[in-house]
Subunit: 201 residues, 2 copies
């Protein structure tokens, strides 16, 4: 058993962001190839009947507290963004296009930049200008990225990615599947590491 | 800051059961008094719009897997019960009555017996016979317990307990509040311990 690690995430998910800061070290340590899958939680929520956390009575208020406390507990930079949640279609499409056209390293660099911009700097990552600016800082042509991200093939790619994720049982962010074993949530990373180390739990 | 630990749980919650096997050691270690609060998740779910886990598409199937894997990971005896979820009103009322009439030690003994009967032995703890039998094994008069548990004052007590819990923001099981800091889920026990140790996170 030494399959790839599939890492599913939504750009508006704080727990997805937290997990994105740790998953590469885990993959390296256990010599697994990491595959990044930007997805849209909103589509999965239609299947599960879930609502965005902030909109849920009681749980919403608790969640904001948990985001901040979990960040401190795990020593991850985090500031509550002014817009939350927000649309992540553009960021997801941009990353897919980078994966297809520029290769994994540049796409992963872009992913980290988008997550940091949103959850540390409070940028509105639903805006084309923000996405183009983040790309530009990485040496990517922002105008070309925006044009590609709104093209029909890239839109289709994201739709297919999301459908495939839901077909595999993905319903939250982060969601990791490795050797057919699913792990939902950054709070399952202890179990994920035990599984990678021992091949079972 | 050295207030009591309020521990809220539903008898049909696997994560509540897992947490019930660990919370006493934490309270002892950090010299806090532990207050047990049986509650009814179904009432809280009406506030949050949540559904019992097994009924949620995708998430339900994952949850069964997570119950078993989390039990193995934390080395807690667990077998998937044949009835799940089930009504826990009777068990909660019985525990409240024991807390009021027999004292904390007997009530806590009963709580552990009920959780074990359900999540290890597969007993149907919604049934009066089961509850009376578990009480009897602890030297409690089962018939008297059943009669008291269906009395108006005990029913009112549970209603009040549940209302108070929701008023404090409790929406899941287990849910711990200590020094006004809320912790939802057995997977926050690492953060709970850090908070008890350091007085902050």
């Amino acid at each position: 058993m030494s399959g790839d690690i599939d890492f599913y995430f939504d750009f508006s998910s704080p727990y997805g962001y937290f997990a994105s800061t740790r998953i590469e070290a885990l993959a390296d340590k256990y010599r697994r190839t990491l595959r990044w899958h930007p997805m849209l939680l909103g589509v999965a929520f239609k299947t599960t009947g879930a609502a965005p956390l902030p909109l849920v009575p009681l749980k919403g208020e608790y969640s904001y507290r948990d985001f901040e406390r979990s960040a401190r507990f795990h020593d991850i930079p985090y500031r509550r963004p002014p817009q939350f949640p927000l649309s992540t279609q553009l960021a997801a499409r941009a990353m897919l296009w980078l994966q297809q056209s520029a290769g994994s390293a540049q796409a992963v660099g872009f992913m980290h930049a988008v997550y940091r911009a949103y959850f540390v700097d409070g940028a509105d990552i639903s805006q084309p200008d923000t996405i183009a600016g983040l790309a530009g800082a990485l040496g990517i042509d922002g105008a070309a990225l925006l044009e590609a991200a709104s093209s029909a093939p890239v839109k289709d790619s994201l739709r297919t990615e999301v459908e495939n994720a839901i077909a595999r049982g993905v319903f939250g962010s982060p969601f990791v599947i490795v050797d057919d074993e699913p792990f939902w949530g950054f709070d399952r990373f202890g179990q994920l590491e035990a599984f990678l180390r021992d091949g079972k739990i």
